[in-house]
């Protein structure tokens, strides 16, 4: 599988929903090989930022550049081949079998001769090979989430965006999934995740975007962003980060 790379940047990105601003002048960049976590309190604009990056929502002002092109100039079908996106909640309407649902991730590429092999490889990445023939309506919440991730990984998109992919997963599958995203980034993909688990974000991600009220409160390496002062400002909690060999234990202490 060839791995094209994609540099993504946002300039003065603003977004409105029902005439209420939800993102205000976001400036940031996502590079190939980098795993970025978007963190922030509920309602900070994490999902909105991800949906705008994925092209599901159109920005009110500002630009997104994919490579050296303005995203609005890229036709929808081509943009879908550049960027794979997994929403926060995605409920399949029909009782498709798992392999058929994963194959939907290949729709932007049309008919692919190696479709069964790709689907099998993607299912293996998320430890779901044994589910291949099962109906999606008969999966547990965590199984469904892993199958949806296989749908995200089945194509060739150089930009992967997932909204809270670890929610609903047990600790083993959370770790396995973060390893998968880490490997994807190491293979040259640009990976953007919205996460609530700050320990996972600190341990696996190269960069953190901290959002608050639609504004970018901070961005940078986990050690620079995850400080008790910044987290206290944004979340309103006192906390402690215990760093050991680049792995952070995040301990929330109390409300401020």
């Amino acid at each position: 599988m060839k791995t094209p790379t994609l540099q993504v940047s946002c300039r003065d990105l603003s977004l409105e929903r029902r005439r209420t601003p939800v993102l205000r002048e976001i400036n940031c960049a996502f590079s190939p090989g980098e795993l970025t976590a978007v963190v922030g309190p509920n309602g900070a604009g994490k999902s909105s930022l991800l949906e705008t990056l994925a092209g599901v929502l159109a920005p009110a002002s500002g630009h997104i550049e994919l490579g050296d092109r303005d995203a609005t100039a890229i036709p929808a079908a081509e943009r879908a081949r550049l960027c794979a996106y997994l929403p926060q909640s995605e409920a399949p309407a029909w009782s498709l079998c798992v392999a058929d649902l994963v194959a939907l991730g290949l729709l932007p590429w049309g008919r692919a001769a190696d479709r069964p092999q790709r689907v099998a490889a993607a299912l293996e990445l998320v430890d779901a090979t044994h589910l291949s023939g099962r109906a999606v309506t008969r999966l547990s919440g965590g199984e469904l989430r892993r199958v949806q991730l296989a749908r995200l990984l089945v194509g060739d998109a150089p930009l992967l965006i997932a909204d809270e992919p670890t929610a609903a997963l047990d600790i083993r599958h959370q770790l396995q999934l973060m390893h998968t995203f880490r490997n994807q980034a190491d293979a040259g993909k640009t990976v953007v995740l919205a996460l609530h688990d700050l320990s996972l974000a600190a341990r696996f991600c190269d960069r953190i975007l901290l959002l608050c009220d639609g504004r970018l409160a901070a961005q940078g390496a986990p050690q620079d962003v995850f400080t008790p002062a910044l987290i206290g400002d944004v979340y309103g909690v006192s906390c402690e980060f215990r760093w050991r060999d680049g792995v952070a234990d995040f301990v929330p202490l109390d409300l401020l």
Partner: protein, 331 residues
């Protein structure tokens, strides 16, 4: 979607010619089929006229109308991601019906075989356009349904008003019978009128097949897979309006086919909303042809209306659906 040529679908397709043969020999008078066939199109022999000018166009119309209703139902359920959706939900049927009723009301419908179907198709398109405009830009499925319910309610009110002030018992009877749906006394004219619209609708739905596939994941996921903007929902709505509108225009409102048929064949296509379009067209054609065979073989004082027959097929289907849901199967 793996292309496994499902034997059940092939069987379905193979049953249609058999049912067609059965339809050609069904009727109040028995005809000598081989002789009538040999007589040919232009023959003036009684049997040949019955075969070529009455039974064949009627049976072909049953196939065409049933196919359009089944396909329209599958498209509707796929677009709204709802197994209980049917084409009537968008006002297609009531738009066509209201236009037809107004013509019957003024008693000018039968002066020309073309006038009523043409206006009814216009009514179907008008109703869908109203629903689309009312739902507004970038409407979600639930907003489309809400707009459809509103337009449907308004059109039903107008129909009730038309019935209320029907100029004569005769006009009223004609309206009620038209609303029940029928394939009686339809000929090549109606067939040739509906055919291009239904084929056009099928082509539009074919162009939207991957959109329906992507929609099984949800609207945001479909957008991220490249199916963004107004183009795709418009393709589906236009396809439904053309196919179902033309079907209602020539055969009246025949209920339940669009609702029931996609359910029956969904397991045969591994729940794939795109292949469901064709499977539902096949099954709808077969179902309506069989229902019409029942109608022509039914002996009674009044002609049995095919809409009543499909309703009798549809109602038990829901009992079965409830039982299967209670057993823990997904809807």
């Amino acid at each position: 979607m793996q292309q496994n040529n499902n034997p059940a679908l092939i069987l379905l397709a193979a049953l249609i010619p058999l049912a067609l043969l059965a339809a050609l020999v069904s009727g109040p008078v028995s005809i000598d089929l081989p002789a009538a066939l040999a007589g040919g199109w232009h023959s003036e022999a009684g049997d040949a006229v019955i075969l070529w000018q009455l039974r064949l166009p009627r049976a072909l119309l049953a196939i065409l109308v049933g196919g359009a209703l089944g396909m329209g139902g599958a498209a509707m359920q796929g677009m709204l991601r709802n197994p209980l959706a049917e084409p009537a939900l968008l006002g297609v049927s009531s738009g066509a019906a209201l236009a037809a009723i107004l013509l019957l009301y003024y008693g000018v419908a039968w002066q020309s075989g073309w006038l009523l179907p043409v206006l009814a198709i216009g009514g179907a398109f008008g109703a869908v356009a109203c629903v689309w405009l009312l739902a507004g830009r970038g409407a979600s499925a639930s907003r489309l349904v809400l707009a459809g319910v509103a337009i449907n309610a308004f059109l039903s009110a107008l129909m009730a008003l038309a019935l209320n002030y029907a100029p004569s018992m005769f006009a009223m009877q004609e309206i009620v019978f038209w609303l029940l749906g029928s394939l009686a006394n339809r000929g090549w004219d109606q067939l040739l009128l509906a055919l291009p619209f239904i084929l056009f609708g099928a082509v539009l739905l074919f162009c939207a097949r991957n959109y329906l596939r992507a929609l099984s994941l949800g609207e945001a996921s479909a957008a991220s897979l490249g199916f963004r903007g107004r183009r795709y929902p418009l393709l589906v709505l236009g396809g439904i309006a053309a196919a179902v509108g033309a079907a209602v225009a020539v055969a009246g409102t025949i209920g339940f086919v669009g609702l029931v048929v996609p359910h029956l064949v969904r397991p045969l296509v591994r729940q794939d909303p795109a292949r469901l379009l064709w499977a539902s067209a096949l099954a709808g054609a077969l179902l309506l042809l069989l229902a019409d065979i029942l109608v022509v073989n039914f002996v009674g004082a009044q002609e049995l209306r095919i809409g009543a027959v499909t309703a009798f097929i549809g109602a038990p289907f829901f009992f079965w659906l409830i039982v299967s849901v209670r057993r823990g199967q997904a809807l």
